[in-house]
């Protein structure tokens, strides 16, 4: 029991003043502390004593509390901070400095320490401790007979212990478990920046409507607090909280969902994915993915039926042939199968893959088709009737490969669309020519239906249907370098115009097609007539084509059946005139490989191959008694071209036969084929018909072109030229 003073240990040296009670108190505390420590290391105990004294001085000056338990043991709580005795040296300096103002009592005592400190600061720790120990030992030795030490007892006042009971609210404990995921942490980190703003807005909204019922307000707050779904939800809920009923809240909410942009986009993607599912085998064939041959299925000539059969049989065999299924990147159950024996040569054929058709385009006749210059999967189709009698409102649609059932863009036009083309320099521009001579330019990027530019206000506009228009890249000479693109149209009023795209669409004439007299044999007996009384001096132009290599030259076909070769630099005269057709020339096309030859088709049921130097036809192809609406050379071979008669589409291969088409595909009875287009990146042919359907056909088993195509073409036509 340490109660009255501490007689066990003599007090430490005190030089100078020290109030006895204070010092005694300190001593009692000191010894109390000391008693509880194992006296293993004397030096340590000294220093810890020193430390404890310091602490004790602090404690003593501040609290002067001592706690005894029932037994009487001193259980005064010691300060938790017990610094490492090794680290005592620097710490002591600081603590001494800071505690220097803790009462005058300690000052002298502490100052003694500081004196020691200054001497010992630069010394090593061990030496300081040793020094202190030595001093203490000396003190102890000097104590017994010394006059300076007086033993004194003191009674301390013990406060009476008292028990006090306190009652507090029950602390409710709850166990909560949580799955922490790395994204949760990431979100919480990021959301903490967004949350304050949304909460502020939410609370502002609720405070603004403080006349609401209590329940709805609560609902608001709970919802906004518990919403971790983003700020929009809480704002929307707080806005719609005017209506007290939950049902109405949900209605507004669902409306908001349905009209949100994300929803629209998701729908768009969903539609495309559905299309992919439906059309997957066809699209794979379009992309020319290799077909895996299933050895178990026998050959079948009709492609789609075979596909179905193959699928069914393969479904049964799927369990057996699992390894084969794994390495195919197309699901093999949807591929069409051909089983070829080596001796058999399969004839070339057109296989119908799918058609671009929808309700909107039903009934409109396809007049022209064009690929986009940058995206080979984007197709623009113009719908309009050729006949004067069947005129209705026209349509221009952009179809994407990814959605064959609904066009990406629909542009409604006042008049039938007769020609269209995509620009090369600005690939989002689509130029459309119409039956009333109007030329409009649409921006494909926007969903807007309105034309970007229209030529209706132009004073120079065409007075007859624009039968063809094209964006042509031309090398300008000397004045400007680099290729510029011009929009060139030909129309039934006999003018070939170049359109300038400025604020308003305006055009200049490139050429006026004058009527040329056809060479008629003058029958004997007929009087010579000076000239026929013509309604107009100009012949309606039907088509044109610029030379692929030298864009200064172009051909123009007219309604009279003549084809004129013209030059951009000369506005007045034709360079050459090719006569051979007896009806309007619907299309001319230069051969992309052998650039001295061109092809023309006309309403006189024939297709004629010309050489540019010869005024008479080289070869003439006629296979039907129907006018040929459209022809196109294949972009892959110099010999192959496609022609659309009214009732069928034909593929001619000049290396195989010049008399008969290689492939001939018949249309259904009421439908007439009106235009053809080859696909650039794949072996497919697009055929447009009078019912508004654009069918995609795959060209199968056509002869591959060989290297020296130009020479062989000349060889073929050689005999004809010689004659």
């Amino acid at each position: 029991m340490q109660g009255p003073g501490g007689g066990r240990r003599p007090p430490l040296v005190r030089q100078g003043s020290a109030a006895s009670s204070g010092s005694q108190r300190r001593a009692s505390i000191l010894s109390g502390i000391h008693a509880n420590r194992a006296a293993s290391c004397r030096s340590q105990s000294t220093t810890s004593d020193g430390k404890a004294v310091e602490r004790g001085s602090l404690v003593g000056n501040k609290y002067a509390i001592r706690v005894f338990d029932d037994v009487g043991k001193d259980v005064t709580p010691r300060p938790l901070f017990r610094s490492d005795p090794n680290n005592v040296v620097p710490r002591q300096g600081k603590l001494l400095a800071s505690s220097a103002y803790f009462g005058a009592r300690g000052s002298g005592f502490l100052s003694s320490f500081s004196m020691h400190q200054t001497s010992g600061v630069n010394a090593s720790l061990g030496s300081f401790s040793r020094e202190r120990n030595r001093i203490y030992v000396d003190i102890c030795k000097n104590r017994p007979g010394n006059d300076r030490f007086v033993e004194k007892m003191m009674q301390t006042v013990n406060g009476a212990a008292k028990n006090k009971e306190v009652q507090c609210d029950k602390i409710i404990m709850e166990d909560k478990g949580m799955m922490v995921t790395s994204w949760d942490l990431y979100d919480s980190f990021n959301v903490s920046e967004i949350e304050p703003t949304s909460k502020a807005e939410g609370s502002r909204a609720t405070t603004g409507k403080c006349s609401k019922s209590h329940t709805t307000k609560e609902l608001d707050q709970t919802m906004s607090v518990s919403s971790d779904r983003g700020s929009t939800t809480s704002i929307m809920i707080s806005e719609s909280a005017i209506l007290a009923r939950n049902h109405k809240e949900e209605e507004c909410h669902s409306e908001a969902i349905l009209t949100s942009e994300n929803f629209q986009q998701d729908l768009f993607f969903m539609e495309r994915i559905l299309m992919e599912n439906i059309f997957q085998p066809k699209l794979a064939a379009y992309r020319q993915f290799p077909v895996l041959i299933d050895p178990d299925v026998t050959s079948d000539t009709s492609g789609t039926v075979a596909a179905v059969k193959a699928k069914q049989e393969e479904h049964n065999k799927e369990k057996k042939d699992k390894e084969e299924q794994k390495d195919a990147f197309i699901d093999p159950s949807t591929l069409s199968v051909l089983n070829k024996t080596p001796e058999e040569i399969v004839p070339p054929r057109l296989e119908r893959l799918w058609s671009y058709v929808c309700d909107l385009t039903n009934g409109h006749s396809v007049s022209s088709m064009a690929w986009s210059k940058v995206n080979p999967d984007l197709l623009a189709v113009g719908y309009g009737a050729f006949d004067f009698k069947e005129q209705k409102k026209g349509l221009a649609c952009c179809w994407s490969l990814k959605n064959p059932m609904w066009p990406e863009r629909i542009f409604q036009c006042e008049h039938a669309v007769t020609a269209l083309d995509f620009s090369m320099a600005s690939p989002n521009l689509l130029a459309v020519g119409m039956y009333n001579g109007c030329v409009a330019i649409y921006n494909v990027r926007s969903c807007n239906d309105a034309a970007l530019l229209d030529s209706s206000e132009s004073s120079n506009k065409h007075t007859g249907p624009v039968w063809q228009l094209r964006w042509v890249e031309q090398d300008r000479d000397a004045t400007e370098d680099g290729k510029k693109e011009r929009l060139i149209c030909i129309s039934a009023d006999g003018r070939i115009t170049e359109w300038l795209i400025q604020k308003r669409l305006d055009c200049t004439d490139l050429m006026k097609i004058k009527r040329t007299e056809s060479e008629k044999k003058k029958l004997p007996g007929e009087k010579e007539r000076k000239s026929e009384a013509l309604i107009s001096q100009q012949a309606p132009g039907m088509c044109f084509d610029f030379h692929p290599k030298d864009t200064n030259f172009y051909l123009a076909g007219t309604e009279e059946g003549h084809i004129h070769q013209c030059s951009c630099s000369c506005n007045e005269q034709f360079l050459e005139t090719y006569r051979g057709h007896k009806g309007p020339v619907y299309k001319v096309a230069w051969n992309p490989f052998s650039t001295d030859m061109f092809l023309s088709c006309s309403a006189d049921w024939s297709i004629i191959l010309w050489h540019r130097d010869s005024q008479t036809p080289i070869l003439s192809f006629s296979s039907t008694t129907a006018c040929v609406h459209d022809i196109m050379w294949s972009p892959k071979s110099a010999f192959i071209f496609a022609a659309a008669n009214e009732s069928r589409v034909e593929i001619w291969d000049l290396s195989v036969s010049t008399l008969n088409p290689v492939i001939s595909c018949f249309a259904s009875p009421r439908v007439k084929f009106t235009s053809v287009l080859f696909a650039e990146n794949t072996d497919c042919l697009l055929v447009g018909d009078s019912q508004g359907e654009v069918s995609v056909f795959e060209l199968q088993n056509l002869a591959a072109p060989n290297s020296n195509t130009v020479d062989t073409l000349h060889d073929i036509i050689g005999p004809a030229v010689a004659i």
Binding site: T181, S182, W183, L185, Y186, D187, R229, G230, T232, T233, E250, H253, S254, A256, I257, L258, T259, S260, N262, F263, Q264, D266, L267, F268, F269, M270, E271, I273, L274, M275, N277, I278, Q280, V308, K311, S333, T334, M405, W406
Partner: protein, 95 residues
């Protein structure tokens, strides 16, 4: 309006069995199925989508789930998830 059109077109496509739009709480907003089946699909797919999203984001928190396709023997379920809704289309792909 465009949303309605697209939704109608999707519903009318070949092989599409059902189209369901549910909000973030799992309550169907638009559906072409009867109520009990819709609610069943809604609940199950909601949970699956959450799990799928959690998986994707656990691997990389900056990533997020954009589309979920479940191909089964009989049909294919396609789910376009979003923070506020879930667009579900059930299609029978092969004919």
């Amino acid at each position: 309006a465009e949303v309605e059109e697209t939704l109608k077109r999707i519903q009318a496509h070949k092989g599409v069995i059902a189209t369901i739009v549910i909000n973030a709480e799992g309550i169907p907003i638009r559906t072409t199925l009867d109520n009990s089946t819709t609610v069943q699909y809604a609940g199950l797919l909601h949970q699956l989508t959450m799990k799928a999203r959690s998986t994707v984001r656990d691997i990389d928190p900056q990533n997020d789930l954009t589309f979920l396709r479940i191909r089964s023997k009989k049909h294919e379920i396609m789910v376009a998830p979003d923070k506020e809704y879930l667009l579900i289309v059930i299609q029978n792909p092969c004919e």
